[in-house]
Symmetry: C2
Subunit: 149 residues, 2 copies
DNA sequence: GGCATGGATGTAATGTTATAACATCGCCCT
DNA sequence: AGGGCGATGTTATAACATTACATCCATGCC
């Protein structure tokens, strides 16, 4: 895992990925991803909206939800369901299933890929007659910073 | 696992558990759990509210949210975050972490306990410096019924 | 050029999910 | 009787998300 990849680099990669796939990486989408990256911790849609509004007073909920739809659809960002926040994807090229560790104390989010967990998971699912579908799994897990307290 | 334990039995067990723990299993709480059990598939808070309202016209959102808070707090029901539904707990005595398999097609929910998955999970978390906190893990997984389609 | 096409955005309204705040009731205890 | 306290009633509002339709603009085709 690249430790602390800078926002600028991730943005570059995202732009490249969009070009490669024939997707329009428009200013709004870019800006939303950038805000997510700069923030680091995951943002609520309406916080994002407030930030966008500061630069673009006409922005409304659809403005930001559309950008978020685009980003999540193409795995450039992810939605954390349990607290309705959005976070930039930290994987170089997100195709495999990810675990999202969500700290209940500080809401920090860590994206993690772990083969052995996914294997165990798939085995258990198969035993129950199910089949893994959504590659995004949220886990409540206290982060290193909050572990002591 | 008890196959298809009847609502009545689960209600009995819930009542007993509350008595044992000195908790008030009031009519509203009972009724909400019963509705969840009868429905089987998980209900939205406002659907539940509509059902309650039919018998008790004065019911309002807090009426049902309070009952749900109680039930989830004491593990008699669970909230499925990804689609904001609530489901009755199917475990005889829910203390260990559970996996919740949520079918993306039909929204059916299966509660599953699996030691090996949880072990793999805890190991991966520990390696990342985290610590499992929330014992409830949602997984998107196509259910046996929907697997063919 | 004229003009259909389709994706992206603007705009207004609304739908859905959840909580805050405060009043009241009923029960247990003294 | 009076106090404490958990449960409930009641009103309002906060927070999260979508629908629906108008407009714009780049692209490709006649
Ligand atoms: Zn990712
Ligand atoms: Zn933390
Ligand atoms: Zn359970
Ligand atoms: Zn299904």
């Amino acid at each position: 895992m690249p430790p602390n990849t800078s926002p600028a680099v991730v943005l570059e990669r995202a732009a490249a990925a969009c070009t490669a796939r024939g997707l329009a990486f428009t200013p709004i989408r870019q800006r939303v991803l950038q805000l997510l990256l700069e923030h680091g911790k995951g943002l609520k849609a309406y916080d994002l909206l407030a930030l966008i509004k500061a630069e673009q007073p006409g922005a409304t909920p659809p403005t930001v939800y559309r950008a978020l739809d685009f980003l999540t659809e193409h795995h450039l960002a992810h939605k954390i369901e349990r607290n309705a926040t959005f976070v930039a994807c930290t994987q170089e090229n997100h195709v495999e299933p990810s675990l999202f560790l969500v700290c209940p104390k500080c809401s920090a989010i860590t994206e993690l890929q772990d083969r052995s967990v996914m294997q165990a998971l798939c085995r258990a699912l198969a035993a129950a007659g199910h089949q893994l579908d959504n590659p995004e799994v949220e886990i409540g897990a206290t982060c290193p910073n909050c572990k002591g307290s």
